[in-house]
């Protein structure tokens, strides 16, 4: 039984962190740390898509595939058709990913939950394999060369240049993340949100109450694909690289992990989980293979002792103290 929480965070709860993050580059100037934030931003957006699908009770193990679709579409539009990178291509790439989500989701969602999860897993594999199979078009296993960074932001001088500074990427992803958070928050509070939750709570009852379960699952899935494509498109222009290994099955699985680790069903949890695990991966990178072990240990401890995810830590602590007191 998934402990999907209803919307409970007030909007003000988002405002303060937002201000903090807007001002962050004033203190943190090192490119490496900004890079970590940017990576967190990218994967949070994709993870939030996964989380949305999760509120309807479905598991999406193919989000990296949608990121790849977004990334490759954007790269190809720029490299082959000469479109200005990112600003023009981002919406189109995201929309294309959305269409794929629609096309695949519609037949896939008519199947039972566990099969849908497997279909999404295979979908990620199909996308990657498709990239490898047509190297003339996609650069295959070598990837696409020379994916350009977006054009520099005029009024920011050197800081506005994507190649030289991480700042424009940071603010762009912050903006995109903010947008994603607003959308997710609003959905949760809307009729769509409550319908999705009811589907995950009790699908049969939802059907009997007149809810077209497949349609709503599809809506969630399509929205998730949109944000997956969005994250992927941003990612390729930020990294200036478009390569199939950036969008592997393990990325998909890890993103699901981020959501669950942080706290299933909670928007904040999804971002928190992503932040913690990506930071851990990055910061522990210097320890080589050690980081895999530490990473795994963190996960194992959380799974065993905090099954509701990181976000339930305060509650678990409170309960633990209460238990000790009660003795």
């Amino acid at each position: 039984m998934l402990p999907i929480k209803g919307p409970s965070t007030r909007f003000i709860g988002y405002l303060i962190p937002m201000i903090f993050f807007c001002l962050l580059p004033l203190w943190v100037k090192e490119a490496y740390y900004l890079h970590i934030f940017i990576e967190i931003g990218i994967y949070s957006i994709a993870a939030l898509g996964i989380r949305l699908v999760l509120t309807s009770g479905q598991w999406n193990f193919g989000q990296a595939g949608f990121m790849a679709i977004g990334g490759y579409t954007s790269s190809l539009l720029v490299l082959d058709l000469g479109w200005p990178p990112l600003w023009a291509t981002l919406p189109v790439a995201s929309l294309f990913a959305t269409l794929v989500g629609l096309a695949v989701g519609y037949p896939a969602l008519s199947t039972k939950g566990i099969y849908f999860a497997m279909i999404t897993l295979c979908l990620g594999l199909v996308v990657r394999q498709g990239i490898i199979t047509f190297p003339g078009f996609t650069g295959g296993l070598i990837g696409l060369y020379g994916v350009p960074a977006p054009t520099p932001i005029p009024f920011m001088g050197a800081l506005g240049n994507w190649v030289v500074s991480k700042v424009p990427a940071y603010y762009t992803i912050l903006g995109l993340l903010a947008l994603t958070l607003v959308v997710m928050h609003r959905i949760d509070r809307s009729r769509l949100g409550i319908v999705l939750r009811s589907i995950s709570e009790n699908e049969t009852l939802a059907k009997s109450a007149g809810i077209n379960v497949v349609k709503y699952k599809l809506i969630a899935f399509v929205i998730a694909s949109f944000f997956g494509g969005l994250a992927g498109a941003f990612s390729v222009h930020y990294h200036m690289l478009c390569h199939p290994d950036s969008f592997s099955l393990w990325d998909s699985i890890f993103m699901v992990l981020y959501v669950v680790f942080g706290g299933v069903g909670s928007i904040f949890g999804a971002v928190l989980g992503t932040a913690v695990l990506i930071s851990a991966t990055e910061l522990l990178r210097f320890t080589g293979a050690f980081r895999m072990v530490i990473y795994a240990s963190i996960m194992i401890v959380t799974i065993l002792f905090l099954p509701k995810g990181l976000i339930s830590l305060p509650q678990a602590v409170r309960e633990g103290i209460a238990k000790l007191r009660g003795r």
């Binding site: 037949p107 279909i119 295979c122 979908l123 199909v126 199979t133 895999m292 795994a296 194992i300």
Partner: protein
């Protein structure tokens, strides 16, 4: 196409089928009895290969002796995994899935720490080539197939003829009824898990002479195993065998003759299969 190439590919298919069967049967067994998706199953394959490596190069043990010893070690290790990492989750599908991923990462990392990332080889104890039906078959590859066939038959007989095997089948059908009948559910689950893991370990050991071992050989294997289980149907032994064969054939023929597009079509077919006949070729419907 050249006859000898075709024969070579067929030999390869047979060998791969053997490997895949050993792994898929185990995964299927775990899924049937414990109802969990053991994502770290591939790591037991990796561990088996490492154990054989250590036993042969470190202790100078004979390869044929090292195999069962390695299987035993892997089986025991898997008991620890089941008891301390999976059992506390009480069969919850989702946490088990995540635990599997965590274990996968953890085991890969641990082995990398201990052994490093370099490929490790052993000398092929069966370097000879045997002539079967006019085709040259390396003995090492033949061994894999032989062991796979023997193991599958053994598992089949075990499940059908022994009390414990029947208890396992009862668990697959109806866990609640089984426990009410006095079957020690935890014990049966642990043993099933160990057997499945040992099979995977044996597969790893058998592959060592003709390939190599690194900490990373487990991950791709588990994905293949899942595709097989999906294709063949979860919880079905003949399904696992057939699925293994199909995948092995696809991998060998497809790769040799058609390149990456074979895999693409393969994955697409799996998706179509999941939509149209999700229970696989032989699986029972949910």
């Amino acid at each position: 196409m050249e006859f000898s190439l075709l024969m070579q590919v067929m030999v390869n298919t047979a060998m791969l089928t053997g490997v895949y069967v050993l792994i898929a049967v185990g995964l299927n067994l775990i899924f049937g009895i414990l109802k969990i998706i053991q994502f770290a199953h591939g790591q037991l394959y990796m561990m088996g290969a490492f154990m054989v490596y250590i036993l042969v190069t470190g202790l100078g043990l004979n390869f044929y002796l090292a195999l069962p010893v390695a299987a035993l070690i892997v089986g025991l290790a898997s008991l620890v995994i089941e008891r301390f990492f999976y059992r506390p989750l009480k069969g919850d599908v989702l946490p088990s899935l995540l635990m599997g991923v965590a274990l996968l990462v953890g085991l890969e990392g641990s082995f990398q720490l201990i052994f490093g990332a370099q490929e490790k080889y052993i000398e092929n104890p069966l370097p000879k080539v045997v002539k079967l039906f006019g085709v040259s078959v390396p003995e090492a590859r033949l061994l894999i197939l032989v062991v796979a066939i023997a193991s599958t038959i053994a598992v089949y007989l075990f499940l059908r003829r022994t009390k414990m095997g029947q208890a396992m089948r009862a668990l697959t059908q109806d866990p609640e009824a089984a426990s009410l009948q006095g079957i020690n559910v935890n014990q049966i689950r642990a043993i099933g898990f160990a057997i499945a893991s040992a099979l995977a370990g044996v597969a790893g050991g058998l592959m060592l002479p003709i390939a190599y071992v690194t900490p990373f050989i487990g991950s791709p294997m588990v994905i293949k195993a899942f595709l097989i289980v999906i294709l063949g149907g979860m919880g079905s032994l003949p399904g696992a065998v057939l699925g293994a064969f199909i995948l092995a054939a696809a991998d060998s023929f497809g790769f040799t003759f058609w390149g990456p597009v074979a895999a693409l079509i393969g994955y697409l077919l799996v998706i179509v299969m999941l939509i149209l006949r999700p229970r696989g070729l032989f699986g029972a419907s949910y």
